[in-house]
């Protein structure tokens, strides 16, 4: 449905006119040429987070070709053959070329999912002028869901495409539209695409894992924490289907982040609820998180395949094949196990209770939940100061050796501070939040990379210890050893930088930025 340059699409306001009456209002001497009709199937792809759309693109398969279309102009930016209609694909799976490049710019991690498939029926007429010369084509388009059981009704369109050189003679062409001519409205490609998506309602439409809560500083913290928990819990649910279908690894990733955010906020703001209830929710979330660990590990290391391969000299590269094929097998197993859990009564029971707990709007007893009624702004300022202090104290205490344990702990402190900042972001001046987050970024990156490398090393070490002695065990051990050496060297470099980076963060400037952020709150 990409637009031939210069096509004008019209949507009728109100009832559809009779298609048979096209051309009845044409000026004297003008006429309509023979009608032809055709059918084509259109399949629209995008990632779960609609990254193509956010980048101003539509991704559409039509007649064996995948087209990348500019939303504003409707013009095709790039094309690549796509023989089948896969339920989803990664940009990296496409053949080298502009289309692949454009989609990689939208997302490398997320799969492009078949978001909507429609059959498009087109009836065409030629609009002829007094000389019986074709000056434009008139198309009547109706879309129908591919799924015949669906009762979705898409809006219909007329479109007029002037031939080259005839764009200026539009007014008589418009008279070819059936009555009432003044009921039409010109619609853009973008609008048509958006209507299709709104009508088709693909699963998880409008999904974004970004926290964008608009909090009221004067409302009780109880109220606002519940809103956060509601949001993160809905994120968990929104990702279930993608996890089950194993579309890409980000579904599980977002699911896990939501669990972590829930846990972190519940723990950091522990006076907001009855501690008994909080303990129950925390235990359940912790258990759930644990059940995802193995699957996430398989995902993460499978994603590292290219990176690991490139770190090794070519002679050792094939030796990693058994490592990755074992990972693939593990992943299948863990996926099956976790999916079974997702459909289990234990899980649905927990989620139901969790949502009930969150939905409970009545303020808890101040005896057991002393914070509950406090104004959100006060709590925000207090908890953020406390979390910042913890980061600073722990950071300053970190010895010259910079032990693993110290860095691990500090990373968690930073993450907590970050979750709080993100949760309360709407209470602060927007610029100040962005500045604080930027100030924290270098430190967080340093700690994040350190822990990440440590975790990888641990994983590889455990593989090393379990390598079967037969089937090329020696070369695999060599390969893993090579990786460990590289990762170790990298990690130690990161460690060396810690003190310098931390003292950059532990500065007057940071203090001032946080003051600026929190003044006015409490």
């Amino acid at each position: 449905m990409s637009d031939t340059q210069g096509s004008l699409f019209f949507r009728i306001n109100g009832e559809m006119p009779l298609v048979q009456s096209v051309g009845q209002n044409l000026p004297e001497g003008w006429s309509l040429g023979k009608n032809s009709s055709r059918r084509e199937r259109l399949v629209f792809y995008d990632t779960f987070e609609e990254e193509a759309f956010r980048n101003g693109l539509a991704v559409m398969r039509r007649k064996g070709t995948l087209s990348i279309i500019d939303l504003e102009s409707g013009a095709v930016e790039a094309e690549t053959p796509l023989a089948q209609t896969p339920p989803n694909f990664f940009a990296a799976d496409l053949p080298e070329g502009k289309a692949r490049k454009r989609l990689l710019q939208c997302s490398t991690l997320r799969a492009f999912i078949n978001r909507c498939a429609v059959d498009r029926f087109i009836s065409s007429w030629r609009i002829l002028n007094r000389d019986d010369k074709t000056v434009a084509t008139l198309d009547y388009e109706s879309l129908h869901p591919v799924d015949k059981t669906s009762e979705t009704v898409f809006p219909q369109h007329f479109s007029i495409t002037p031939l080259k050189g005839y764009h200026k003679e539009l007014s008589p062409m418009l008279m070819a539209l059936p009555e009432p001519v003044d009921a039409y409205r010109i619609v853009s490609f973008k609008e048509r695409l958006m209507t299709i998506m709104e009508t088709a309602e693909p699963f998880g439409r409008g999904y974004s894992p970004k926290l964008r809560l608009q909090l009221d500083a004067h409302a009780s913290i109880h109220e606002n924490v519940r809103r956060l928990l509601q949001f993160t819990t809905s994120i968990m649910e929104a990702n279930e289907e993608g996890i089950r279908k194993d579309i890409d690894s980000e579904f599980l990733h977002d699911f896990r982040v939501a669990i972590r955010r829930n846990r972190s906020i519940l723990r950091l703001l522990n006076g907001v609820f009855d501690p008994e209830k909080t303990a129950w929710a925390l235990a359940g979330l912790r258990e759930l998180g644990k059940r995802t660990n193995d699957l996430r590990d398989s995902d993460v290391y499978l994603l590292r395949r290219e990176e690991y391969t490139s770190l090794l000299p070519p002679s050792l590269r094939p030796a990693l094949d058994p490592f990755f094929s074992d990972l693939e097998a593990d992943k299948r197993l863990h996926h099956r196990q976790f999916c079974r859990y997702l459909t289990d009564r234990e899980y649905s029971g927990f989620m139901t209770s969790l949502k009930e707990f969150i939905a409970e709007g009545e303020l808890p007893d101040p005896e057991t939940a002393p914070l509950a009624a406090e104004p959100t702004g006060d709590v925000a300022a207090k908890t953020i100061r406390k979390a910042l202090k913890k980061v600073l104290v722990h950071g300053r205490r970190t010895g010259s050796e910079t032990s693993d344990a110290e860095l691990h702990e500090l990373r968690i402190d930073c993450k907590k501070l970050r979750y709080l900042l993100e949760f309360f972001a709407s209470l602060f001046p927007p610029k100040a939040t962005a500045q604080v987050l930027r100030q924290m970024k270098t430190l967080q990156d340093n700690l994040g990379t350190f822990v990440d490398l440590s975790v990888q090393m641990e994983f590889l070490q455990s593989r090393l210890e379990a390598i079967p002695a037969d089937r090329g065990g020696i070369s695999e051990a060599a390969a893993i050893g090579g990786l460990l050496t590289t990762l170790y060297r990298e990690r130690e470099k990161v460690r060396e930088h810690f003190h310098e980076i931390f003292s950059g963060f532990d500065s007057n400037e940071t203090g001032e930025l946080f003051d600026e952020l929190l003044t006015g709150l409490a």
Partner: protein, 247 residues
Amino acid sequence: MKTIALYSIKGGVGKTAAAVNLSFLAASPTTPALICDLDPQGASSFYFRIKASRKYNSEKFLKGNSKILKNIKATDFENLDLLPSDLSYRNLDIELSESKKPKKLLSKNLEGLEEEYRYVFFDCPPNLTLLSESVFRASDLILVPVIPTTLSIRTFNQLVEFFTDNGLDSTKIVGFFSMEEKRKTMHREIAEEFQNHPSMLRQTIPYSSDVEKMGLTRAPLNATHPKSNAAQAYSKLWEEVSMRIDS
């Protein structure tokens, strides 16, 4: 991009008929084609039912590129566009003589078409002027319809001489017999005599009332009656021409 001029100093020999049918045959999705009507009488524009916009004139034509591109119109046939002529074209020669390099002007003005078209046809007016010289230089092939008469052969030879005398590449000139009437002895004899002449194509176009009727149908014969004798002859002629031009 390959450029083919339909040219003859004589009128009424079948230039326009050939330009219309050959351009129709040349146009395909991989080889989009353009026909430039250079004759102020606008016969090829008429055959395609196209009129120039009111604002279009010879001045715009001489300005070239973007002005030309803007005035190109799609025909009713896929991948075939036309640049209509305008009555003001009758002054082209005077206007050309006022420009700096009149003989090279046309090739320069058509640079913008390079990307869009694989074949460009010029339907030329019947005279030998500055414009013709500009066309000669801009064309890869000058296709000359020759009615099989002694007089026409003479005119053809005069054209070849003109090329040699003016430092133009005479190997670009290729003739074909047009409006051939097999029942006329002279036609038969001349056609036979020149059968193997290196500047003449093998294929001839017969005299046919179907070609005349194009004036009524206002469409290429190859679009309306592809099976007719004359249409088949144009097809074979195009095969020969495209072989020459693409080799």
